[in-house]
Symmetry: C2
Subunit: 480 residues, 2 copies
C-alpha cells in the first residue's frame, strides 16, 4: 500500500472479494485436474496450488485481525477452515477474539489442544477471560499454569465477574503516575514506552497504595507548562470511575452521556484495579442491541450464516415450541365456542382480526415501556399514570378502528349486531393488550427479571386467547 492510498470503510468487502477470487481460482485448477483424472498432472496441480496458496497467505498477512475475522464469517465452512489454516499461528488468538461466537466454535473445533494453547498464550488476561468459556478445560488449565503470578491473579479477577458487569469488560492495561512529580518527569517516563495501551486518553494518578487521586488527560499533559506538578494539573473532582460490580449497561450509558474514552475501575477502597475503554463499551452496546433484536424473533444467538440445518434448528426450536403451546391454547379457546361458530360461520372469518390487532397494539405498548424502563426513567410509581395513558390510546383506537371494522362486518354480513359485537370485542381486546403491555414488563422488573425478554410472547399469547374468548364470548351472549 503506497502513501497515496487510504483505507476506506468498504475496503473490507474488497478484501473479501479478493480472497474469494483466489479461492475460486484454486478451485478451477483443482476441478480441471481432477476431471482429467491424470495422475502425472498431480505435479502441475501441486505447483499451481502452492502458488495460489502463497498469494492467499500473503494477502491474509497484510490484513487487520478484525478483517480476517470478517472474511472467515463470510465464507462457507470448508473454505473458512482452509483459510483459517493459512493464517499465521501467532495471530490465531486475536482473530478468535474478533469472530462471532458461532464461527469461533466452528474454528476451535478443528484446532489441536497445542494450537489452542499457543493461541491463548498470546493474549492478555482480560482477553483470555473472554475466550475461556469456549476453550476445553485442559487447555485453560495448561495456559493458567504458564502464567506468572500477576497474570494468574488478573485472569482470576476477570473471570470472577458476571458477564454483564464492568468487571467482565475491563482490561488491566493502564498507565499510572504519582501526583508529586512534574509533567516533565511524566513526559520523560512516557518516552520510555514503545507504545501506550490502546485508548489511552488519560493517565490515572494514584498514591503508593494505588488509591485513585485524580486523572491526568494527555491533553492537559500536552497543553500545560511542563514545569507544573501533576497535582496542579490533574482533575480530582467529578472523576468518573466504576466498580467491577457496576452493571455494564449503566457504564455504557455513562460513556455515551459523558463522551468518555477510558475510565478507571476501582475496588471498594478506591484502589485502581483496571480500566474500561470505549472500544469495550461499543462492542457491548452492539452485542446488547443485537441480542435484543434476535431475542425478539426468538433466536437464541447470532447464527453462523453457513450453519448446518441442524444447528439452525437447535437455535430456533425453543421459540417455536413455546409458540406452538400458546397457539394450541388459543385453538382450544376457539374449540369452546364451536357451537356458536357452526351457527354463525362469519365468526370464524372475523375472529383472527380481533386477536391480531390486539397483539400488535400490545407489542407497541410494551416496546415503549421496556425502553423507558431501560433508561431508568420509569419509577414503579409512574405505573398508574402510564396505564391510564395507554388505556386512553387503546380506547381511542378500539372505538375508531374497531368502529370501522364493525361497519365493514355489518356491510359484509348484513348484521348490525354482529358489527356491534366486533367493535366491542376490538375495544376490549385493545384495553387488555394495553394493560398487559404496561404491567408485564413492570411486574417483571419488580420481580428482578429482565423486562425486555419474553414479554412479547406473553402478550401475544394473552391477546390471542383473550381476543378469541372476548369476541366469541360476546357473540355467544348477544347473537345466539
Amino acid at each position: 500500500m503506497t502513501q497515496e492510498e487510504e483505507l476506506h470503510p468498504d475496503d473490507v468487502q474488497q478484501h473479501l472479494r479478493e480472497v474469494q477470487e483466489l479461492l475460486a481460482r484454486q478451485k478451477v485448477v483443482e476441478d480441471l485436474v481432477h476431471r482429467q483424472d491424470m495422475p502425472r498432472h498431480e505435479l502441475v496441480e501441486n505447483l499451481v496450488h502452492k502458488q495460489h496458496e502463497a498469494s492467499l497467505r500473503a494477502k491474509l498477512d497484510e490484513l487487520h485481525p478484525a478483517d480476517i475475522a470478517y472474511i472467515l464469517e463470510a465464507l462457507p465452512l470448508e473454505e473458512r477452515l482452509y483459510v483459517w489454516d493459512l493464517v499465521k499461528a501467532e495471530r490465531d488468538g486475536e482473530i478468535l477474539l474478533e469472530v462471532s461466537d458461532a464461527v469461533r466454535e466452528s474454528l476451535i473445533e478443528t484446532m489441536a489442544p497445542e494450537e489452542l494453547k499457543a493461541a491463548a498464550e498470546s493474549l492478555d488476561a482480560d482477553e483470555l477471560a473472554d475466550l475461556a468459556p469456549d476453550l476445553p478445560p485442559e487447555v485453560i488449565q495448561d495456559v493458567f499454569q504458564s502464567l506468572d503470578t500477576e497474570g494468574r491473579e488478573q485472569l482470576r479477577t476477570a473471570m470472577s465477574y458476571p458477564e454483564d458487569s464492568v468487571g467482565a469488560l475491563m482490561d488491566f492495561d493502564m498507565v499510572t503516575v504519582r501526583e508529586d512529580v512534574t509533567l516533565e518527569v511524566v513526559l520523560r517516563y512516557l518516552r520510555r514506552f514503545d507504545e501506550l495501551p490502546d485508548h489511552t486518553d488519560k493517565l490515572f494518578v494514584v498514591d503508593r497504595e494505588d488509591h485513585l487521586k485524580g486523572i491526568l488527560t494527555l491533553e492537559s499533559l500536552l497543553i500545560s507548562d511542563p514545569e507544573l506538578e501533576v497535582a496542579e494539573v490533574m482533575r480530582s473532582e467529578t472523576v468518573i470511575s466504576f466498580t467491577p460490580e457496576d452493571e455494564a449497561d449503566e457504564a455504557a450509558q455513562a460513556f455515551e452521556r459523558y463522551d468518555l474514552i477510558s475510565a478507571p475501575v476501582v475496588d471498594s477502597e478506591k484502589r485502581v484495579i483496571g480500566r474500561l475503554t470505549v472500544a469495550d463499551v461499543v462492542d457491548f452496546i452492539r452485542e446488547e442491541s443485537e441480542a435484543e433484536i434476535l431475542s425478539k424473533a426468538g433466536l437464541r444467538e447470532e447464527e453462523d450464516i453457513f450453519a448446518s440445518v441442524w444447528d439452525s434448528v437447535k437455535n430456533r426450536w425453543a421459540w417455536l415450541a413455546i409458540n406452538l403451546v400458546t397457539a394450541f391454547v388459543a385453538s382450544r379457546v376457539i374449540g369452546l365456542f364451536e357451537d356458536s361458530i357452526e351457527k354463525l360461520v362469519a365468526l370464524a372469518a372475523l375472529m383472527p382480526i380481533v386477536a391480531g390487532i390486539g397483539g400488535n397494539s400490545g407489542n407497541q405498548t410494551t416496546t415503549m415501556i421496556v425502553r423507558a424502563i431501560a433508561m431508568g426513567q420509569v419509577e414503579q410509581s409512574a405505573m398508574q399514570r402510564l396505564l391510564k395513558k395507554e388505556l386512553g390510546v387503546a380506547l381511542f383506537n378500539g372505538l375508531v378502528w374497531g368502529g370501522l371494522l364493525g361497519v365493514l362486518a355489518w356491510w359484509l354480513y348484513g348484521s348490525a349486531s354482529l358489527g356491534a359485537v366486533m367493535t366491542s370485542a376490538m375495544t376490549l381486546n385493545l384495553l387488555l393488550a394495553a394493560s398487559a403491555g404496561v404491567m408485564i414488563p413492570m411486574l417483571r422488573q419488580r420481580l428482578g427479571a429482565d423486562p425486555a425478554i419474553g414479554g412479547s410472547v406473553m402478550i401475544t399469547a394473552l391477546t390471542d386467547s383473550g381476543g378469541f374468548f372476548i369476541f366469541l364470548g360476546l357473540a355467544t351472549l348477544f347473537l345466539m
Copy 2:
C-alpha cells in the same frame, strides 16, 4: 463535590431523585397555602417558593448537560417546563442537543424566537446543523446571518449531506500540523491551546493545500524523541479516512472494527474537510439500533413517555392501519371457505395455529438474513444456498412440529385425515415462510430499499393469508 467523591454511573438517577424531591417539597408548600386560602399567606408562600427555587437552580447549575437532559426526559410535561425555565439560558443549546427528539419538540414549542436564537448561537456549526430541522425557519435565518463566512460555509456543508452519511455526523474541530516541523515545535504549538477539541487522539498532518499526508497520534507525539520531524514519526500508510458521502453505517463498522477514536474526513481530492469521532459514532449506533427495535414494533419514533394520548396515537396509527388491512385480507381468505368451516367446525379452531407458527418461523428467517445483509456478508449469489438451507429447516420443523400437531388434531377430533391435512398444511406454510423470509429482504436490497424495514409485516401478511388458504384449501380438497 470534594476530592474524595467520585461520580458513579447511577449518580444521574440520584440527581433525578433530588430534583423530584425539591419539586415535591415545592408542591406541598403550594398546596398547603392554597388550601388555607388566606391572602396574607402569599408572602410566606413566595418566600418559601423562592428558597426552593434557588436550591433547585443551584442543583441544576452543577449538573452535566446530558444529566439535565436525562432529568427533563423523566419529568412530566408541567414539571419539565418548570425545570427548563430554571436552567441558565446559555446552557439551553447544549441541552437541546442532548434530549430526545420528542422532548426537544416539547421544549422548543415553549421558547420565544429570541431565546432559541441565543441558544442556537452558542453552538458549533455541526451541532447547529443537527438542531436546525427542529427550529423555526426565521430563527435559522437570523442565526445564519450572525455567523462569519467560515461558520456559514461549515453550516451549509454540514446541512448538505443526507442524514445517514458521514457528512452529517462529522465536526470541524481538528488540529492539523505540517510534516516538515519537529515534534518539539508541535508540542510548543499545542501548549498555545487552552484545550484541544474533544476526542483528539491524533493530529492530522496536511500540506499547504490541506491534503492529508498522514496522522500523528498523541501517543507517538508523547513517546517519541522531540527532536524528530513529524514526517519521521507520522503514520502515512493504512490511514483510515472517510469521505462525507460514505454511509454512516459503514463508518460505524470501521470504528468498531479498528477501534478508532477519531478519523479524518476528506473530499474527493484528499483535502481534509472535517473529522469523525467515536462519540458521534456511538450516538449513531445507539440511535440506529433503537430505530430498528422501534420500527419492528411499528413505532415511528421514540415516544416521550409523558406524551399525550393524541401524540401516542399519531406515532402508532400507521402500523395499526397496515395490520388492519392485512388482517382484513386474511379474513376474506377465510370467508372463501365458509362452506367448509360450516361442515367441519374443527377447521376454525385449528387454522390460527397454522398461520401463527408460519409467521413466527418466517420472522426468524428474515431476522437472520437481514443481519447478514447488514454485515455485508451475503452476496446475491448466496441466495440459492441460503434458500436451500432455510427450506431444509422449514421441512424439518414442518414434519416434526406439524406431525405432532397432526397427531393432536387426530386425537382431539378423531379424524386421521384431518391430522394429515394439518401436518401437510403446517409443512407447506413453513416452506412458504422460509422462501418469503429469504427472498423479501434480498429482493428489497436488490431494489435499493432498506432490507430491515417492513419485511416483518409483509411476511406475516403472507403467512397469515397463505396459511389459511393452504389449510382450508387442503381441507376442502381432501375432507369435503
